[in-house]
């Protein structure tokens, strides 16, 4: 059989799951979660089959193509439903379906007490389908479908606990901010349509060689806008923090491992366009650099464990975007870091989830402490993930991040220096805040003792909490196997993936046919960079240890410096949005409603009223006196006569 026909099944399987689970009704409640997990596993298996098949082929003819049907055929505008599976997509397929399956597994235990678990799995499957569609599409419009599809899924999942206003708001916010990004994507597609007359990857990327830089820059910037929205890059990052309102598995899968990396995919996929548009590339790198610092700083200040991790996610994706902005030097490393990050960040989130699970859904790290002996598995897996992300030598993060920093320097020129040093600084801060998380959670005194966990000003996060004894001292305990197994597997991944990829530049060769790769000439030797990384790493860790390891941690966060306070508020970005966009928007709409009523409507009503008034006045002439009628007749006659005579005169 020819394997490309399998591609559609990759998407179909989870989609089927979603349909069945969402339309199935209550009778599926008992088995729903298994259906979901199995179907996602199925698509992972298919992925593996295709993968092995692909490995069997030569590097050049690995790209598969499947054309299903013509979607929107209009004069001069042809959009097809067709899939393209090359090494890049393949990487994503495996990551998405693999991690996705693990997290399905995890959720079975995690959502056990939620009566709407079936729907939850339906949403998860819907997400998988959309995400796979996104990475498998062979043209930008179909990609757009997946793009919005994952947006919808994330909307549904963030707001899964809709009865919580905060959750509903967060979901709405996420969707809206993403919509702004989507605007970018759709404009980009229109630009492609007007420039190339098509928006299928193949033709567009080929044609982009010989197209004016201006056009390419425009397209590139629009794509960047889209990427910012989806990947929570400055200035559209504000939604990611709130997205943590969603159940933790969601945060792990969507807001750490897969969806948020779609932006990176988009940029790498559109490499040819960016290669032709240096300015756009520069913009990308800048965004990446800024975000990686931004995220890191925010991550340092948060006491909410998930929010801290969210900050870190932001910053790590910043690395990827930065790398992607570097062009052929960086593409491969961007993806590589993406994959490794997928492993360890997912692992970290699951770990955090497991902690919350054991702590009555407490999220404030200041109320944790010394948990390592209560939940050993979690501790170990989380620890490994921690080491991986800070780039401990030998673990995944070490390889991937290191490469990116190198590449940043390799960009050359002052830009190279600036970017490189920013990346380094980022590494230091990463080490700092992750150590902080680690210490606050697993080491130090057990701050959760003798204290009602859910403090009134912080309402407990999840409804399940109501079933488990609230306001009583928590009894930290290890999570069930269904939860721990995925964590372990992910931990394994986060330990070895990096090494596996890097040895003999496997990953580079694997991706090269798609992304092309060249080694820029770095002003610094690889060794120097690595050394520098190590140094900053140590600095970061020790700093953290001095602050949180040695001294006891206050239960309520100290006021802190101006920066700290700003960082706690996401560097005031939200406040800005609130004041400028929300308030401003409200005023605008209110005034418009007023205008519509008084002005637009008023003009018409006014005319009507004035006619009525005129009528009322003319009516007075009809005063009932025969003589005044006679007067009007007489006058009329006079006018008639005079007018007739005048007509003759003139």
């Amino acid at each position: 059989m020819n394997t490309e026909n399998l591609i559609a099944l990759l998407v179909a399987a989870p989609l089927l799951g979603a349909v069945v689970l969402l339309c199935g009704g209550r009778r599926l409640d008992r088995v729903g979660h298994w259906i979901g997990t199995l179907l996602s596993a199925l698509s992972f298996v298919i992925g593996l089959v295709l993968f092995t098949d692909m490995l069997g082929k030569g590097a050049e003819d690995r790209s598969l193509h499947q054309h299903l049907f013509s979607w929107i055929p209009v004069e001069g505008f042809q959009a097809d439903v067709a899939f393209q599976l090359d090494q890049l997509s393949m990487t994503f397929v495996l990551l998405i379906s693999g991690v996705g399956t693990l997290i399905h597994l995890y959720s079975i235990g995690y959502m056990e007490h939620d009566e709407r678990r079936r729907r939850f799995f339906g949403y998860l499957n819907l997400f998988l389908a959309a995400m796979l569609l996104l990475v498998l599409a062979d043209n930008y419009l179909l990609l757009y479908v997946g793009w919005e599809g994952v947006g919808l899924a994330s909307y549904l999942l963030i707001g899964f606990w809709q009865h919580k206003p905060s959750a509903a708001t967060a979901a709405k916010k996420a969707f809206l901010v993403n919509r702004v990004g989507d605007m970018g994507l759709s404009i980009a597609i229109m630009l492609m349509f007007t420039t190339f007359g098509t928006f299928a990857f193949g033709p567009v990327l080929e044609a982009s060689e010989g197209t004016s830089e201006g056009k390419l820059t425009a397209i590139g910037l629009m794509l960047l806008l889209a990427a910012c929205g989806k990947s929570a890059q400055v200035p559209l990052q504000s939604w990611l923090g709130d997205a943590m309102e969603g159940p933790t598995p969601v945060s792990a899968l969507i807001h750490a491992a897969t969806m948020v990396t779609a932006g990176v995919y988009l940029i790498v996929r559109s490499g040819a366009i960016f290669n032709g548009a240096p300015d756009a590339q520069l913009a990308v790198t800048v965004v990446g650099a800024v975000t990686l610092l931004f995220g890191a700083i925010v991550g340092c200040a948060k006491d909410d464990i998930k929010k801290a991790l969210a900050g870190s996610t932001m910053s790590q994706i910043g690395y990827m975007i930065l790398a992607a902005g570097l062009g052929p030097i960086g593409y491969v490393f961007a993806i590589m870091h993406l994959v490794t990050h997928g492993f360890f960040k997912a692992g970290l989130f699951l770990g955090a989830g497991s902690v919350m699970h054991g702590m009555n859904d407490e999220v404030d790290m200041r109320k944790y402490g010394g948990l390592r002996k209560y939940m050993p598995v979690t501790f170990v897996t989380f620890g490994l993930g921690y080491l991986a992300i800070i780039g401990f030598p030998g673990l995944s993060g070490f390889f991937s991040k290191d490469k990116i920093i190198e590449a940043a320097f390799a960009k050359g020129g002052t830009e190279g220096w600036i970017l490189g040093s920013v990346a380094l600084l980022g590494a230091a801060i990463t080490a700092y805040y992750m150590t902080r998380v680690m210490l606050l959670t697993f080491f130090g005194e057990e701050r959760w003792r003798h204290r009602a966990t859910a403090s009134p000003e912080q309402p407990s996060a999840e409804p399940a909490a109501e079933t488990r004894g609230q306001h009583s001292e928590p009894h930290p305990h290890e999570s069930p196997r269904s939860m721990t197994i995925p964590m372990i597997l992910l931990a394994v991944g986060s330990v070895f993936a990096g090494g596996f990829f890097s040895i003999g530049d496997r990953f580079t060769h694997w991706l090269e046919p798609v992304t092309h790769h060249d080694h820029g000439d770095s002003p610094l030797s690889a060794a120097t960079v690595t050394g520098a990384t190590m140094v900053v790493l140590v600095v970061g860790v020790t700093l953290a240890w001095f602050q949180y390891g040695r001294r006891p941690v206050p239960a309520v966060a100290p006021r802190g410096s101006l920066l700290t306070r700003a960082a706690r508020r996401d560097l005031l970005q939200d406040d800005f949005n609130h004041v400028v966009l929300v308030r401003g928007g409200e005023h605008l709409t209110r005034s418009l409603v007023y205008v519509d009523h008084t002005l637009v409507d008023g003009v018409v009503n006014g005319t009507a009223a004035s006619v009525g008034g005129l009528s009322g006045r003319l009516r007075k002439l009809q005063n009932g006196y025969a003589r005044s009628y006679a007067v009007s007749m007489f006058g009329g006659a006079a006018v008639l006569i005079v007018a007739t005579l005048l007509m003759r005169a003139v």
Binding site: R619, Q622, N623, G624, A626, R627, A630, F634
Partner: protein
């Protein structure tokens, strides 16, 4: 004497009649004024007939008189019935219907 003067006289009478209609309150008087206007017309007809030297005008004058008589019959009938039911022949009192 220039026959055109008869026309001026006719016009004058017509104007007097018309202004009477506009000014006087008593329905009977108003009606008489209208009769005056009709007679002004008659005068005009006769004068013209004389000027043209054909008899049409004079014949019309007779018709006019008949019509006037008929109007008197109808008019008086109406006015009298109005007077009997209101005990007033003032056209201004008859203003139930207005606006």
């Amino acid at each position: 004497m220039n026959p055109v003067n008869y026309l001026y006289l006719a016009a004058l009478l017509f104007a007097i009649g018309a202004s009477g209609v506009l000014i006087r309150r008593n329905a009977i008087v108003v009606f008489m004024c209208i009769e005056l206007m009709l007679n002004a017309c008659n005068l005009a007809f006769v004068a013209f007939s004389r000027l043209h030297g054909n008899l049409d005008g004079q014949i019309i004058a007779f018709f006019t008189m008949v019509v006037a008589a008929a109007e008197v019959v109808v008019g008086l009938a109406i006015i009298v019935s109005l007077f009997r039911s209101r005990h007033s022949a003032s056209v201004d009192d008859a203003s139930l219907m207005k606006l």
